[in-house]
Structures are given as structure tokens and as C-alpha cells.
């Protein structure tokens, strides 16, 4: 179980930075959250973050990923819920790649 003191300090600094980013928004909202505009922003932010995170890999990868995304959306809406959508998406991508997409 080897570890140099310098590396341990660096890892501690990194962990601190990660927690500062993760906790910063949470803490800031305790004061900012009272403002109507901030509440409105955060009403839209989660969906906006999710579609932003998904769209770039979809556009970059193309083919099989789009099949997976369509399967995910359709199954989530029709079967209802997270699990069918997730498994269906992964299955669709595997099938699409097997089919040569």
C-alpha cells in the first residue's frame, strides 16, 4: 500500500476541488434560491443539462447511438419508467451494431 506524501497532498487538493464544485451550487442556492428568476432558471436547467450532455455524443457517434436514443425515448414513454428504457436502449445499440450500423 505505497503512497508518497506529495501525491497524497495532491489527491487531497483534487478531492477538495471536486467537492467545491459539487457543493458550491448547492450552497449558493440557499441564498440565490429566493429570487424568482433563479427559481425559473433551475426549473429549466435539469432538462437543458441532460439534452446538452446527450446530444454531442449522439451527433458524434451517429447510427447505432441514434437507434439507442429512439428506443430509450419510446420505451420510456410507452412501457413507463427508467428500467425498460435503459435496457431497451442498450439492446438497440447492440442490435444496431450487429446489423452493421
Amino acid at each position: 500500500m505505497s503512497a508518497s506524501p506529495e501525491n497524497l497532498v495532491a489527491i487531497f487538493v483534487m478531492a477538495l476541488a471536486a467537492m467545491a464544485a459539487k457543493g458550491g451550487g448547492f450552497v449558493a442556492m440557499r441564498w440565490l434560491g429566493r429570487h424568482r428568476f433563479v427559481s425559473a432558471l433551475l426549473d429549466h436547467a435539469p432538462g437543458a443539462v441532460l439534452v446538452s450532455a446527450a446530444v454531442v455524443p449522439l451527433v458524434q457517434a451517429g447510427g447505432a447511438y441514434w437507434a439507442g436514443a429512439v428506443a430509450a425515448a419510446v420505451l420510456t414513454r410507452t412501457a413507463g419508467g427508467f428500467t425498460p428504457g435503459l435496457f431497451g436502449a442498450v439492446g438497440a445499440v447492440a442490435l444496431a451494431r450487429w446489423a452493421g450500423l
Binding site: G23, V51, A94
Partner: protein
Amino acid sequence: MSLSARVTWRSFQAGAWRMVLPGLASLPFGIGFGVAAAQKGLSAFETTLMSFTVMAGTSQMVALDIWAQPLPLVALFVSVFVANLRYFVMGAALQPHLPHLPWWQQPLVWYVTVDQNWAINIAEYRRGHGDLGKFLGGGCIMACIWSGSTLLGHLAAGGVLSDPTAARRLGLDFVGIAVFVVVATILFRGKRDLAPWGVAVAVALAAKWAIGGNWYIVIGGLAGGLYGALRDYKKTPR
């Protein structure tokens, strides 16, 4: 105590089980990071400790890029903080659902605020049945899988475990994106979301093209959020 801030062993387990598949999606990335860390001279213990305490793969990769002797501590702090800025937005979105969280539970919540775990749980909080136990359980299993996969990568260091083709054949490389699509589908509120999400998509694509890296997530998210907020703010009477 309301459901949203209560933690039970049962809900913790349920949250953990739910996040096993999304957690496994990080296996190839984790193994790759372990290999890279080994090549930079970090020990297995240091690699695993970093993964368990930082719990943010992209920023860990960024940190490895600048890892040199003497270690640039300020640069490490800034680069890890900036690389994790999307969690700033995610944490802000989560806080209104957990307004009275005891101070000692807050760092635990921050720690488990990672992409897929946040996405699944914010959807439930917004629908009124969020569960802190599930959130913590999901984050715990993801921390274990992430740390374990980086340790595996370090030990294998370039052997058969670092081959990503098996994950691709099974479609497992898509799991992370699938979580985002599924949760976005759950959150979708029809016409009200079309324009803000359209703005987010366009800005995210432009940001990826112009800047590169992962900035597109926070930039697109903020752009879509700001558009929706401005539109709603103008409509509602003061």
C-alpha cells in the same frame, strides 16, 4: 421527516441496485484511467484513493495530463474545479428539493452528485417522490464500481481488461448516454420545454465545435436554462 430527506437501509439498497448497470458503464473508462495512472507512476493505492475521493473521471484524466514533479497544486485545484463545473449547476438544481438537510449530510449529498445518479434522482424529486436513501445508495455503488474499475485498470495496466471492444459489442458504452435520454424523456413537459431544450442543443453543439472538451454540457445547460427562465420571467406578473 419528509420522504425526500429520509434515509432507510431499504431505500439505500434500492438506490444502489438501481445504479449497478449505469455504474458498470463506467468500467471501460475506469480501467482506462487506471492504466493511464499506472503509466504516470501512481501506485495502485493512490489511484484507487484518487478515484474514491474525487469521483469524477473526466477531471481525474485532466489532472493526469498535468501530473508532474513538483506537483502543481494550484493548477490541479483549478483544473479539477473547472472540469466539474456542471456539478455546480446540478447541485443548485437539487438544493430546492432538500432545503433543510442537516449540515453533516450535505457533504454526502455533494459527493454522490455525479451525472447518472443525479439525473435519475432529480427526476424523482421533481415528481415529488425523491428519496435521499436512494440517492446516497446510488452514489455509493457508483463510487465502489468506479474505484474498483480504476484499480483493475492499474493492476492490468494494458492487458486484456483494457480492451473496450467487448463493451462496445454489448452496447454498454451507450449506458451513460441512455440514462440522460431516459431521464430527459421522463422530465419532458411538452411544448413548454421545446424551445429551451432546442436552445440547449444548439448551444451545446456550437460549444463543442468551438471550444471542445466537456464545456458544452454546462454551457448548453445554462443557455437552455437562461432562455426558459427569461421567457417565463417575462410572462408571469410580478
